[in-house]
């Protein structure tokens, strides 16, 4: 050896590289005899909780959301079973009790309108229509939003650009004007048609959220691992990414329910929604307003019902977000 490496030479290297102890010690014993492993080492006997159980516990801690969920379920169940729950039929005319203010007499607690129809019954039937519309909108809009947002987020680049510009385009449309035009052109009688029209313009918000979520998820190592294992795009999107995005999807879908009920009511109020005799919440307010200022209950009770439903939907949405996506929580526990 010459003097070529004066600066770096270790004067008298005697040792070897430290080698991990592989052949002896308790670690090796566990390796060779899995039977000998104790429960506390393997963790098998520890009671495990699924993600859903954790989410449910977090949701239950959100008192207001729980109360609102109960209220909301009650309201929607009443709507769903309207023919059995409502004290009268929605079109039952009783001229002797026309224009009655809220009274326990005959159980007209929301009062009656100019031709004596019981407004409580009409509100309950209105909830039924609104809930139906909201459900269809939520399902359709979620489907469209997830597909468009998912494709944009997963493929990114050009695909993302094209799909998101399209989404922006829909977003910039003045919603109400489009709805009114569409209702006028396509006809607006049936709840289903109204629901489809609302769904076609309300998926944008969800698409953006899903895109963002997918953009983040596609960088996850387990997505790369799935790719390295030979999984195709569809499998990765549906099986690996979608379940991880379920939190934001559920939250956004919940808020869409509220949005749909509100939009449907606005359409109904303006007379472009579902047509009589089917009662809807918005139409009931419009009718009440048309009946004159004296009959305040005709406007107040359907209006309060809408407010109550929307408040509940929003609180439930809040609770769900806290439960499903703990990172977004405002207050840490």
């Amino acid at each position: 050896m010459g003097d070529s490496f004066p600066e770096t030479r270790v004067p008298d290297p005697r040792g070897a590289i430290p080698r991990p102890p592989v052949a002896e010690g308790p670690a090796a014993a566990v390796l060779e005899e899995p039977e000998a492993a104790l429960a506390y080492e393997t963790g098998v006997e520890v009671q495990s909780r699924s993600q859903w159980q954790y989410a449910r516990r977090r949701f239950m801690r959100h008192r207001l959301a729980v109360v609102c969920l109960v209220l909301l379920v009650g309201i929607f169940l009443a709507g769903a079973f309207a023919p059995w729950v409502a004290p009268y039929a929605y079109d039952e005319i009783d001229l002797e009790n026309a224009s009655s203010p809220p009274t326990l007499d005959g159980f007209h607690i929301f009062g009656t309108d100019l031709i004596g129809r019981d407004y409580l019954s009409r509100v309950i039937f209105g909830i039924r229509t609104s809930a139906e519309v909201a459900l269809i909108v939520a399902i359709l809009a979620t489907l469209i939003g997830v597909v468009i947002g998912g494709l944009a987020g997963y493929y990114s680049g050009q695909v993302d650009n094209a799909l998101m510009r399209f989404t922006d385009l829909i977003l910039t449309l003045p919603g109400l004007a489009v709805l009114l035009t569409a209702a006028a052109l396509l006809g607006h009688g049936s709840p289903y048609r109204v629901a489809v029209i609302i769904a076609l313009i309300s998926w944008t918000y969800l698409a953006r959220i899903i895109r963002g979520t997918f953009l983040a998820l596609r960088e996850k190592e387990y997505v790369e691992a799935a790719k390295a294992a030979g999984a195709g795009d569809l499998r990765i999107m549906v099986r690996h990414m979608l379940p991880n995005a379920i939190g934001p999807i559920v939250v956004a879908a919940t808020l869409i329910v509220g949005l749909a009920i509100l939009t449907e009511s606005v359409l109904g109020f303006l007379g472009f929604g579902i047509q009589p005799p089917t009662p809807t919440l918005g139409k009931l307010i419009a009718d009440g307003q048309g009946a004159g200022t004296g009959l305040w209950w005709l406007v107040t009770f359907p209006g309060l019902t809408i407010v109550l439903i929307l408040l509940c939907v929003n609180f439930v949405g809040d609770g769900l977000r806290d439960a499903l996506d703990p990172t977004q929580r405002r207050v840490r526990e």
Partner: protein, 341 residues
């Protein structure tokens, strides 16, 4: 070495970034023989991971781009495959064990489902009971206790070592011919590392796969590898069998690496680090990329002006250094470590 099963030929990969073009891999060539364990070492950013990611087609393009070279697997160029053909190779012919088992398993699927999926992807004809039985067998092979119970658990119910075992089970599920292990023990603590090394050895025995072992850990190389590729700044600087690399390294960078290893029996308290830090891959020093840190260069012009070629030192031993002759006879004194392998 037997006939190469995987042959990387003159591969160059670059990434376009806002700061400029990063030449992550520049003209890298090495062969992997059937059934051999090839260790790839080098500092962070030396291009060792990018090279193998390119083999699996996992480089995001853009910003990444393969500018040159070919990757021959059983005579087929993997870079020219369609995405469908590439999917068929991934996971069944060439499989990968990832660095961090904590993030490489999908948190919403059970461990069993994820291993089963790796099998199902390549054997859609298999019945689900058969897949489940095979999955449980795989968990047993990699030393996961109570595989039947563990099959139904989620990743968060697994410890880090157990997850890495599950990742290895997933990688060997289809008995691949080449297994790429990208720093498989880096994210684990030392006692678990030892167990994972044993599992890797067992996986090799079970599948007879060639293993490309990427690591910073020269101890792991000494333990497992048959041959070693040393990379620096996107280039291969030395290739040789493990004994040669540990007992007679002929590249200043490899020697620097060897001298920075702590020795169990050594009485000297101070390690000898390589001075300086790895170059930014946007502005690699001209000439030999290692010259600013090299003890051999000592400001000689040739190191600054000319990129050295990878030249034969002896049979199967190549080094990239202008003054390799000045290193003749050097022995870092690691014979004890290398003899184990």
């Amino acid at each position: 070495m037997s006939d190469p099963i995987l042959s990387i030929r003159d591969l160059s990969v670059e990434f376009t970034t806002e700061d400029g073009i990063v030449h992550a891999v520049e003209g890298v060539s090495y062969d992997v023989g059937a059934g051999e364990v090839l260790g790839v070492v080098g500092e962070s950013g030396s291009g060792k991971s990018v090279t193998v990611m390119t083999v699996l087609g996992l480089i995001p393009q853009p910003p990444g781009k393969v500018t040159n070279g070919e990757i021959l697997y059983r005579g087929r160029d993997l870079l020219k495959l369609s995405s469908k053909e590439l999917r068929e190779v991934r996971g069944s012919e060439v499989a990968m064990i990832f660095q961090d088992p904590m993030t490489s398993l999908n948190p919403v699927l059970t461990v069993g489902e994820q291993i089963a999926e790796a099998i199902e992807t390549h054997h859609p004809e298999m019945r689900s009971e058969a897949i489940e039985a095979r999955t449980i067998e795989l968990l047993d092979i990699v030393g996961v206790p109570f595989p039947e119970a563990r099959f139904r658990q989620y990743p968060h119910e697994f410890s880090g070592g157990m997850r890495q075992r599950a990742m290895i089970a997933m990688a060997i599920a289809n008995e691949p011919a080449v297994l790429v292990a990208d720093e498989p023990t880096t994210a684990l603590d030392v006692t678990i590392q030892a167990q994972i090394i044993e599992v890797l050895k067992k996986a090799e025995e079970e599948t007879h796969a060639a293993i490309i072992l990427i690591t910073h850990d020269l101890g792991l190389i000494a333990e497992l590898a048959d041959r070693v590729v040393v990379m620096y700044a996107g280039r291969v600087v030395e290739i040789g069998d493990v004994e040669t690399i540990f007992t007679a390294p002929r590249n200043p960078y490899t020697i620097g690496l060897m001298n920075s290893i702590p020795r169990v029996t050594g009485t000297d308290d101070l390690l000898v680090p390589i001075p300086g830090s790895p170059p930014s891959m946007i502005s690699v020093p001209p000439g030999c990329a290692f010259h600013p840190r090299c003890f051999l260069s000592r400001g000689r012009d040739r190191c600054r002006a000319e990129v050295p070629e990878l030249e034969d030192v002896s049979a199967g031993h190549l080094s990239r250094c202008h003054f390799v002759s000045e290193l003749a006879g050097y022995d870092p004194g690691l014979a004890a470590a290398a003899s184990h392998a």
